[in-house]
């Protein structure tokens, strides 16, 4: 074991891991994050906490993670390179580890153009791959990026993001290889609706043995409505939503669409369980955390292993 | 007080618009004396500075007349002219001058009537818009020109 992370233990045991996500509030309201996290207790091995998601200011991921850790749950600290330079990032990682946070995700982040502060400079002192390298060096060599020794180096279980649906497709397996080489222990993928394309990517991943170098958690998101399906299809970069999914959502009366979305999500998980190389699932039910327990149960992923 | 007589400068290309003006003349079609014609080899020769200087020197309205689309004797001088006219219209708006005081027209050499119509229409439009520069300002300009 590289770390004390529960997620690492579950993955090492060979059982399918489950993670989910909480978005911090747009204000100093700790109750909101605690409520969301409480809904997930017992149903997940780790809870991602997003970092100024969609470039909109929210309570810091680190602060929200600390609240969640104090509840006895296992937060996954998401950090984007958009808002902080390497000093600030290393500093936050030390602070997180000191609070008992041992799992994190290294990301680039959405461009400020999309958010509420488009005037802000985007930092990108380092990119997500250099970030993975930096955290691995902190953990395995006990050294800061600048070279000096760290007292009590943070033993972080390190994750990255993978998007099999972004362009150019021919690079997406090579990109995973780069992340694995840089130090990713696990990746969470963009939410999957196009199973054929995902399986195509997984074939490429398996051909190179990457599924053995890095654990792949397949991302899923339940749709709340046909409108949401259309929005994700047309307006969100890097998202692949096939027409059949939109049609299926639209083919059901409005009051039943939410349940249909959950059904599709559960079916997706069942199908993904059959794909070799998938080590678990990352359920992103944004502002819909209350349905996650149901999804976990109906997918046969409950109870979570006792380790 | 004298009624306002607009001063219009018309940049006319030699091959089409200027010839159309001639045609109007030989057909005995009248057009207002307000329109002062400047003959250019091609409407594409007209640059932004020429248009601005015309206004600066006291023109109340300016137009550029070139060949019909696709017929320019120099291939695409008229399209270039049109782009420049659009550019200067924006510039005029930025300095507080009504962009309608500047226009681009297209005509063939034989279109005497069109030439005459355009000249009259433009004159009337500008008459309604009034003088571009105040009479006080124009006389200052005349004095500068003399000096």
């Amino acid at each position: 074991m590289k770390t004390e992370s529960v997620l690492e233990k579950v993955l090492a045991s060979g059982k399918l891991a489950v993670t989910s996500e909480c978005g911090p509030p747009r204000g100093a309201v700790p109750e909101k994050i605690k409520e969301k996290a409480e809904l997930l207790r017992g149903y997940v091995d780790g809870v991602n906490v997003t970092d100024n998601q969609t470039a909109m200011v929210r309570m810091s991921s680190l602060a929200a993670c600390i609240f969640i850790r104090q509840m006895g749950l296992h937060p996954i600290l998401q950090v984007v390179t958009r808002d902080r330079n390497r000093l600030a990032m290393q500093s936050d990682i030390l602070g997180a580890y000191a609070h008992g946070i041992d799992t994190m995700l290294c990301l680039s982040g959405d461009h400020p153009h999309f958010g509420d502060h488009p005037q802000a400079i985007n930092v990108h002192d380092i990119d997500s791959i250099q970030f993975l390298q930096m955290v691995k060096t902190m953990r395995d060599e006990g050294k800061f990026q600048g070279g000096a020794d760290i007292q009590n180096p943070p033993k972080m279980f390190i994750g990255g993001a993978a998007n099999p649906f972004a362009d150019p497709f021919e690079l997406r397996v090579a990109r995973l290889a780069k992340k694995a080489k840089a130090g990713a222990d696990f990746v969470q993928t963009q939410c999957i609706y196009n199973l054929d394309k995902f399986e195509q990517w997984m074939q490429g991943v398996r051909d190179r043995g990457l599924h053995e170098q890095v654990h792949i958690l397949a991302g899923v998101t339940p749709m709340k409505s046909a409108g949401m399906a259309r929005y994700m299809k047309n307006k969100v970069p890097g998202m692949d939503v096939p027409d059949e999914v939109v049609d299926r959502m639209a083919g059901v009366p409005k009051e039943k669409q939410a349940d249909e979305g959950i059904q599709i999500c559960v079916e997706t998980i069942q199908r993904l369980k059959e794909v070799p190389g998938v080590s678990g699932f990352h359920i992103m039910a944004i502002e819909w955390e209350q349905r996650v327990p149901e999804i976990v149960e109906r997918s046969g992923l409950y109870p979570r292993p006792e380790l | 007080m004298k009624p306002f007589e607009p001063v219009i400068v018309a940049f006319c290309c030699h091959y089409c618009a200027y010839t159309a003006a001639d045609m109007a003349g030989s057909q005995r079609l009248t057009y207002p004396p307000n329109v002062k014609i400047v003959r250019v080899p091609c409407s594409g020769k007209v640059d932004a500075i020429h248009i601005l200087k015309a206004f600066e020197k006291g023109a109340d309205g300016v137009y550029v007349a070139g060949c019909l689309t696709g017929d320019c004797h120099f291939k695409n001088g008229n399209t270039k002219a049109a782009r420049r006219v659009a550019y200067v219209k924006k510039l005029l708006a930025e300095i507080g001058i009504n962009p309608d005081r500047l226009e681009m027209f297209y005509m063939s050499a034989g279109m005497g009537e069109k030439f005459s119509q355009v000249a009259s229409d433009m004159t009337e439009k500008i008459r309604e818009l009034g003088p571009n520069l105040t009479p006080k300002a124009t006389s200052q300009d005349d004095q500068k020109a003399v000096a």
């Binding site: 959405d110 990119d127 250099q130 890097g238 | 300095i95 507080g96």
Partner: protein, 222 residues
């Protein structure tokens, strides 16, 4: 070249409002190439300003001159004889030129008439695009001659990110995804295996991160 665009007329007019006599100075190099501040643009701006003031019933004394460059003291010196005839200098050069004029003519306000934009190249007539950010440590040899620092919206050295769509950047369909361009170049050069080399974290000290920069040629500087 260094590209620039004329400031909005309102802003220029407001800045010269307090003065009676202006020296409008253009530059024959970069701003001429991008049609922002060369001889033609000087003439145009002078005429437009005159028209603006005439409409208010005022006149402005505007002298026009275009120097070879404004970023070299020898050329800046050329207007020394005109200085006591004006109250302010309005420069159409890039920020470098405006500052050199201000440095030489300490007793006159020197005002910028253009917004300096970026170091770029002409894609075609009338279109200029950003190419270089002066990072001070050029890595173009590794990326097939295409710069991710200047042309990636997130400055990724190991791109693309997950937002690349159909060869375009997530922020706009008008912006190319430079990592798509780099990948295409690497392919056409037979250098695909370069892609998986990890580019390490950049030392920004050679760029603006290290403070304002200077180059000194000891064989040339006295």
């Amino acid at each position: 070249m260094i590209t620039a665009e004329r400031k909005p007329m309102e802003e220029i007019v407001a800045s010269i409002q307090p003065f009676q006599r202006i020296l409008l100075v253009g530059c024959n190099e970069c701003v001429t190439v991008c049609a922002a501040g060369g001889r033609k643009e000087v003439g145009l701006l002078a005429s437009a300003l005159q028209l603006k003031f005439l409409k208010r019933g005022q006149t402005m004394d505007i002298k026009e001159i275009t120097l070879e460059r404004q970023c070299d003291p020898e050329y800046v010196e050329e207007v020394a004889t005109m200085i006591d005839q004006v109250d302010a200098i309005l420069s159409m050069a890039c920020g470098c030129g405006v500052q050199e004029m201000a440095r030489r003519y300490k007793n006159l306000p020197v005002l910028p008439a253009v917004n300096t934009k970026f170091m770029g190249a002409s894609e075609r007539q009338g279109v200029w695009a950003e190419r270089c950010q002066g990072c001070g440590d050029c890595l173009l040899g590794l990326t097939g001659g295409v710069c991710p620092i200047a042309r990636c919206s997130k400055r990724l050295l190991n791109g693309p990110c997950g937002g690349s769509t159909n060869g375009k950047c997530e922020i706009s369909p008008d912006v190319d995804c430079v990592w798509q361009l780099i990948w295409d170049r690497l392919k056409s050069l037979g250098m695909e295996d370069r892609y998986e080399d990890i580019m390490p974290a950049k030392d920004w000290q050679t760029g603006r991160g290290g403070g304002p920069r200077k180059i000194i040629r000891e064989d040339m500087a006295e």
